[in-house]
Symmetry: C2
Subunit: 210 residues, 2 copies
């Protein structure tokens, strides 16, 4: 059983289990998703990240105690990943380093696409401080992506990055997973895009959690 | 410490430790390489594979007992992978499924390149029974790759596959790692190639063996 750590507090089970559903659909892996407590706006700055890290560590330990054989830290910033690795004995895959490391391994011109102001730390560490980064016009949070304009803006942003010479785009936001942007890119642009949830599933699939 | 299982018997330490050196150079991971005993020709047919599986399992158990926190089964056919997973409690990455699963995750037209008669099983399982497969002309074993003609033939084989529509080539032979064929492809053809040893290193890097 894979334990999925969601780094925000949310009451909607459908929403909380969404990354688990994507991983099950693509890799047939069954999971158990849990939220950290009392962070309804998730992690959005240094203070909220500092507050979240001990909760992430405690949740990871609880999931291991409940029998999970691997963990997925579902956030592109890998918050508390090092601390979590010290606190549990099972393998942990995190969305940011999963996505960035696959892009880095391909060793072709890469760009990062997200919804924040800048590429998250694991992308800079694995693809270089000066890695090209873009966010879709008019998209500032995952809800903006769910509108027809949001989807169009995301595809258009990717198209621009490919035209500028990127051969690979790594997603630094799991909101793109929800709207299946990687599929749109493959279908409409015929290019290579690394979905962060799918990249995490790739790693988990090779760990063969039992 | 990563434990590397070589599926043939060889006295030359340099040769035995070569995949470990490649992984250390690319990912900074330190490893310990060991060969299975009494199989100087390695695995080359069903009978030699049946003979090798219990040796692979025993070697994996010994490496875990010596303190390895992850294993790399360095063979594109994943021989005995399921049996080994049942016999040890640490994560195991195998060259064949590592290479094939990265190619599959990209979901673009893929081909497989090796030196055997056909694509090994993990490549058919992950990329489809009918996945396009080719081997370089005049290359029948890894030694053939080490000559200038062998290298030229390998690059030319890749070029043909890309011209036929492949956007991604997954290597099903670790001999291509030795001659750095993926780098040649990137440099001369500007295309995406998945090196099997490098793909294995990618997975190990995210497992963070301690």
């Amino acid at each position: 059983m894979l334990g999925i750590i969601r780094v925000l507090t949310h009451d909607d089970r459908q929403f909380v289990e969404e990354h688990g559903r994507l991983i099950q659909r693509e890799y047939g892996i069954v999971s158990l998703s849990r939220c950290i407590p009392d962070q309804r706006k998730g992690i959005y700055d240094d203070a909220s990240q500092i507050l979240a890290v001990p909760k992430i560590v405690a949740l990871g330990q609880a999931l291991q105690a409940e029998g999970c054989s691997a963990l997925f830290l579902s956030c592109a910033a890998d918050p508390g990943l090092a601390e979590l690795r010290r606190a549990v004995t099972i393998p942990i895959i995190s969305a940011g380093s999963a996505s960035a490391s696959v892009a880095a391994m391909l060793k072709r011109p890469a760009a990062v696409m997200g919804i924040g102001a800048d590429a998250p730390l694991p992308f800079k560490q694995l693809l270089g401080e000066s890695v090209i980064y873009a966010r879709p016009e008019g998209v500032f949070n995952t809800t903006d992506l769910l509108t027809p304009q949001g989807r169009e803006s995301a595809l258009s942003c990717a198209d621009t990055l490919y035209r500028q010479g990127a051969q690979v785009i790594a997603f630094s936001c799991t909101g793109f997973s929800t709207i299946a942007l990687a599929d749109s890119i493959r279908q409409h642009l015929g290019k290579i895009a690394i979905d962060a949830v799918s990249a995490a599933g790739l790693f988990i699939s090779q760990l063969a959690p039992r």
